[in-house]
Structures are given as C-alpha cells and as structure tokens.
Symmetry: C2
Subunit: 231 residues, 2 copies
Amino acid sequence: MATLHHYPFCPHSRFIRLIFGEIGAELSLVEEKPWERRTEFLVLNPAGLVPVLVEEQGLVVPGASVIAEYLDETRSGGLDAMRRLLPQTVADRVEVRRLMEWFHQKFFEEVSGYLVTEKIYKRFMGADAGGGPPDMSAIRAARSNVRYHMKYIGFLAAKRNWLAGAQLSYADLAAAAHLSCADYLGDVPWDEDETAKAWYARVKSRPSFRTLLNDRVPGMAPAAHYADLDF
Amino acid sequence: MATLHHYPFCPHSRFIRLIFGEIGAELSLVEEKPWERRTEFLVLNPAGLVPVLVEEQGLVVPGASVIAEYLDETRSGGLDAMRRLLPQTVADRVEVRRLMEWFHQKFFEEVSGYLVTEKIYKRFMGADAGGGPPDMSAIRAARSNVRYHMKYIGFLAAKRNWLAGAQLSYADLAAAAHLSCADYLGDVPWDEDETAKAWYARVKSRPSFRTLLNDRVPGMAPAAHYADLDF
C-alpha cells in the first residue's frame, strides 16, 4: 500500500486523499507537521512541504500536482473513460490542469493559505518558527478574496455541470479540498453564490469526502455545518 | 504557427521560449504587460498571468506548467527518446516535474519573483497598480535566498550531469529561465558554486538561449557578463 505524508488541514494533502478515495485505492496516512522541518522528512522532500506520496517499492513522489500527474500515469488504467479524473483529450486536459493550478496556487495564495496558516498552523508552531496569534489583516484579505472565487466557481458549475466539463475531474477535487479547509474555519460565504453551493454539496456528498469530514483540529471545533451534507 | 503571449523578463515565459527553441518549433511572440490587466488578455487567461500559448486553431493554453505538459503531449513525438524534455519513464517524470515545481514556485517565490517585481515590473507599473521604487528588503531577501539554491543546483549537477538526470530536461530549462532573469540584474553569485556555474554555462551556450540574451529592459543595461558565454 502507498503511504501519504500529509497534514490533515493542508489543502494540497486533502486533494490527494480525495483522489485516492475516488479511484478506490487504499492509502496509509502519516501525519507530518511540515513547520517542524524534521530531517527525515526533508530527505523525502527537500522542499519541506506536504503532501509526499511514498510507494511500497520506495519511489517518492512529492507535491500535489506532481502526485496527480503520477497517479494519472500509474493508476488511471482501471478507470473507464467517464471516470478518468484527468480526461483523455488534449483540450480537456489543458482545462483541468488550468483549474488545478487556479486552486492550488491562486486560491491558496489568496484564500486558503492565509486561513490555514493564520488560524491553524500558527496555533501549533513554536514562536521561533513563526507561531503565535493570527494576523487579522491576512484573514480579512482571505475573506474578501474568497467572494470572487465563489462567483467563478458558480460561473463554471452553471456552464458545465462539473468545474472543468461534463465529468468530475481533478479540478473539482482541488477546488473542494481548498474550500473544505476554509469551511472548517467558517470562512466560506455560502450565500454568495447558489450554484457554487449546490456544486460543493454534490462533491461533499461523495464517499471520498467522508474522511475529510472526520478531521478535527485539536481544541478547535469545526463550523456547525462542516460535516452536514445538507448545509 | 503558435503564438506566445509573454513578457520578456517573466521567467515562466522564458521557460516556454526555451522549450520551443529546443524542440525547434517556430513561435510568434506577442508582448503582454500582465500588470495592465487588459480585458482582451483576461479573456484569454482569467488568472491574468503570462505565459499563454495560443494555437493557430485557437486552443488557449495558459501557464508554464500547463503549457509544458501540453507540449509533451502534442509536440514531443518528433523527438527521439534521448532528446525528450520530459522523459518517458515514470520515475524520471516525477523527478523532472519535482524540479520544475522547485524553480517555478519555490525559486520564484524566494528569488526571481522578488527581483523581477521590484527591479523591473515596478519601474513600468503605474502607482495605482503598485509601481514605484523597489523594496530593498525584498531584494536583500532574494540575494540571500539565491545562495542555497546555487548550492542545490551544484549538488544536482555534480551528481547527474543535467539537473534531473543524464539528459537535458524541462528541469534545466526552468532553472535556467529563472536564473537568467536574476543574471540580467547582476544578482546571481556565480562564485558561490563552480559546478552550478559550469552547468549554467552549458545551458547558456545552447542555440535555444540566444533569443533570451538579446532581450533588454528599456533604460536598464544588463549586467556586463549577461550575454557573455564565457562569463
């Protein structure tokens, strides 16, 4: 069985957990606190970031996008064309990858990165690693930025059923992984866009999502509706 | 012929120009100043970033990593296995992608992004778009961070000939694209690591690199050795 070195509230790690849920492959989880910069972990991934996938045979695959491409090349053979998370035509692959980058980079830089860093990571980091009380200006920036992202998600979902096209893809899993972290913290304005909310309800209801809904930050309860499928 | 919407000192754009040079495909260049946020450009790429590749048939491919994957899927058939910029075995692809991310994200966030933003972009941006004099603390951070990246490049090049393995790959082109921007500005400490310098001299001597060496920032001369192949 493959092992994923992850942090439960790292959105990029959640994305990989969702992929494994969707393809129905077993995955052993090992929690890593990346801010501790453990030497053994830096050997696995010199960049010091989760997620890192380690195959039973020893191959190390670091980084959400690199793992997603790797899984497409090694695990998608058993999925029929309708269930391929990275579709098979060239133009569709461009669109899925564009949206993966949108969420893993742009949404993370503007929303989810601020929220998990300020509200979760800094609770557990030592003062020398940058821990301490949250920077409220970063949280306010995230809460402002998330609004146009909700409208963009609504725009895409209205046009296409799923975010990148007619079928569920890596794009939906990336978007939902990042939103789910913000949602735990109560920072998703669900009344901003009805179509975006309906799309998220569909992703959240998938069996692959259950494991995420059971995660808890020690000492910090989730928003009341976090695990509610009918929110 | 495909068209690349690029900015000459955007390292991600330079990476795509190098790939086209290496695969020997013609490319039409259109300069875009991404900070102007032109409506026509935002239609091409809602993220507002260069590079964006537009195929003659109209397909739009935005983002350095997305374009690199797309070119591997559509343009690499004519290259023999030794010249594939994204190699064909699964483990080698993981390593090339890991290093592409290293330079496009980590090196950009820690070094090249600071340098081109502070020293070039802010010269030409209006005050309302964030233009103005450079933030010297950002430039100092970049000059400090670049040192360990030089050592890492030297470490990889000493072990493997090229950065990701025995053959030139996307990893070398990504690293060289980012370094070339810093080098124009005189901010690469070439005495930090002899092996890294020798590796860069090899990449810089390739015909694909010539176009980059002719770029000039209006009103700002390059470092004396910028276009010198024997620096």
